[in-house]
Amino acid sequence: MTFKQQLRTVLIFTKLSTKRFFRDKLALFFGVLFPLIFLFVFGSMSKGNTDTNFRVAIFNQSKETYAAEFNKELTSSKTFKVSKDAKNLADAKDKMAKSQLDGIIVLPEQFGAVNPDIKHPQGVVQVLYSQSNANTGQTLIAVLNGMVSQMNAHLLGAQPPLAVQPAPVNDHHLTAFDYTFAGLLGFSIIGIGIFGPINVFPELKKQGILRRLHTTPLKVWQYFTATMLSQALTGLVGIAAQFAVAIGVFKLQVVGNWFEIIIFTVLGIFMILGIGLAVGGWAKNERQAAPLANAVVFPMMFLSGTFFPRFLMPGWLQSLSDWLPLTPVIDGLRLLTTEGAHLVNLGHQLALIGGWTLLIYVIAFRVFRWE
């Protein structure tokens, strides 16, 4: 067989296994839908972190009209997430003790009654907060103070002599979601590259399908290359869906170049797939594949910044996790997507990926078994 014929074989295998992927509902679920579910869950969580809002219960004990207006003002404010669950003050305190509420706002009787001397409504807002969560309590009070002094100025019709003007600088600032999203992309690359092969290969061996292929002149490199190409193609579809949701729903701002993002993603898939090919290709059955895969995947999943950013880790752990194969993939994806980096700036990440890819595939080729 000439080399050209051998490449043609690779392309036909790629075509056929890509077709199979799109017919397989289970593969579609785990390849496309499953990562999207994670994206929704983690995306919503990290979104909640960025626009700090307080979960509060409001008790208006006053019958005054101004109290009702004040209540309305608080309820419509984006800063507060007003809970209606608490039936009474005691119940609310109980909920606060369980950390289901950040604070309780009480408008006492007579709140908002018009003082005939100054012809303005008057009153004192009571804020109850848990001492064990004093930080949140203090912030809540500061926020309320701010709101009240604005209202005061409005009521008195005069600008106070001193004021603070907040000006948030937010362009190109990394949000928690940027980290979450890059981590989730890393997670779905693990799904594509490792969980796929370690489930599929032992099954193919059990049924003798790989063995049958081994009776043909097909070579391991041809089989591996076809698997790489088709996994990269199907993986890109899943990752494109994630980008679409991240941009559409979670307002991800992609500042990078799409072409570079695709190239980098494919390189990441190739490398991680090598781990799947090595483990799945080596294992004779599921019982061998599963423990080994877990031993490889879990450290990467938790240390490479999949579910929480690495900057939260102690320094020694960060420098250790620097060297894991998934870390440069996640870092690189974040740098390219939201930090405006280009492939030429990712020398460190690309070198790490290159080194790992080489090592992983040398192992994968050595340990591969057709049955």
Binding site: K19, R212, P217
Partner: protein, 252 residues
């Protein structure tokens, strides 16, 4: 039928210090249907797998179409077709795609429909492999083993688990393939199958060949030794009744 296409010399395979195949030698001539018979564990499949390049050879040598199996496995694979004991295919793959895939594995480009017609699966070309019956799967498996026009075709217990109609159909198919000039080597533990299909058989037991000749000669030798079977005057057996009642047509 004089040219030797397969030459096996002192072939040995050892598992756990025990010889599973114990220094066997035999030749197969071009165009023959050669059967390897024996009880389970006799070493039939291991022998076949060594010839097919699937198992390392521990001792002796195998030459097929002038190629040394131990040193030229890739070349050998290109001239042989292999039908494994159980025919399994990946789900969600259409029959014509499976043919295309195997052809590609041999570096060939074929018309899949033609090959499927040959094994009476033309109508099923667009179906998935998992929708096939046992007999259909065996036929598909045969088609995949012939995509590259091999010179020697190996079948490992091809009719195990098939109903009588499917068995007969498969025998016809094997004869057709043989009529095209392909040498056929099969293992079986159905002796009626061997008697009907094979030009010559080798009987294996405990890793050794204990007899090898044409079925007729082997039977004659036994009779010459004075063997007498209890005589039955019936001109038919239960299988004949079964076929008479249910017909020869395929049921899948």
């Amino acid at each position: 039928m004089t040219e030797t296409i397969l030459e096996v010399k002192d072939l040995t395979k050892i598992y756990d210090d025990r010889p599973v195949v114990d220094g066997i030698s035999f030749n197969v001539k071009k165009g023959e249907v050669f059967g390897i018979l024996g009880p389970n564990g006799a070493g039939k499949t291991t022998t076949l797998e060594m010839i097919e390049t699937m198992r390392p050879i521990d001792g002796g040598s195998i030459t097929i179409c002038g190629l040394d199996v131990a040193s030229q496995p890739q070349e050998v694979k290109a001239v042989i077709g292999v039908q494994p004991q159980t025919a399994a295919f990946q789900d969600k793959q259409k029959l014509h795609e499976i043919i295309e895939m195997f052809a590609a594995a041999y570096g060939e480009k074929v018309n899949p429909w033609e090959f499927l017609e040959d094994v009476q699966l033309g109508e099923k070309a667009g179906a998935y492999a998992e929708s096939l019956s046992g007999g259909q799967r065996q036929r598909l498996s045969i088609a995949t083993a012939l995509v590259h026009s091999p010179k020697v075709f190996f079948l490992d217990e091809p009719t195990t688990g098939l109903d009588p109609q499917a068995r007969r159909n498969l025998w016809d198919l094997i004869r057709e393939v043989n009529a095209r000039g392909v040498t056929v080597i099969l293992t079986t533990h159905y002796l009626d199958e061997a008697e009907l299909l094979c030009d010559r058989v080798a009987i294996m037991d405990k890793g050794k060949i204990i007899a090898m000749d044409t079925p007729k000669t082997l039977i004659k030798q036994l009779l010459d030794k004075g063997f007498k079977k209890e005589q039955h005057v019936e001109q038919a057996n239960l299988e004949d009744v079964f076929i008479d009642l249910t017909g020869k047509g395929l049921r899948d």
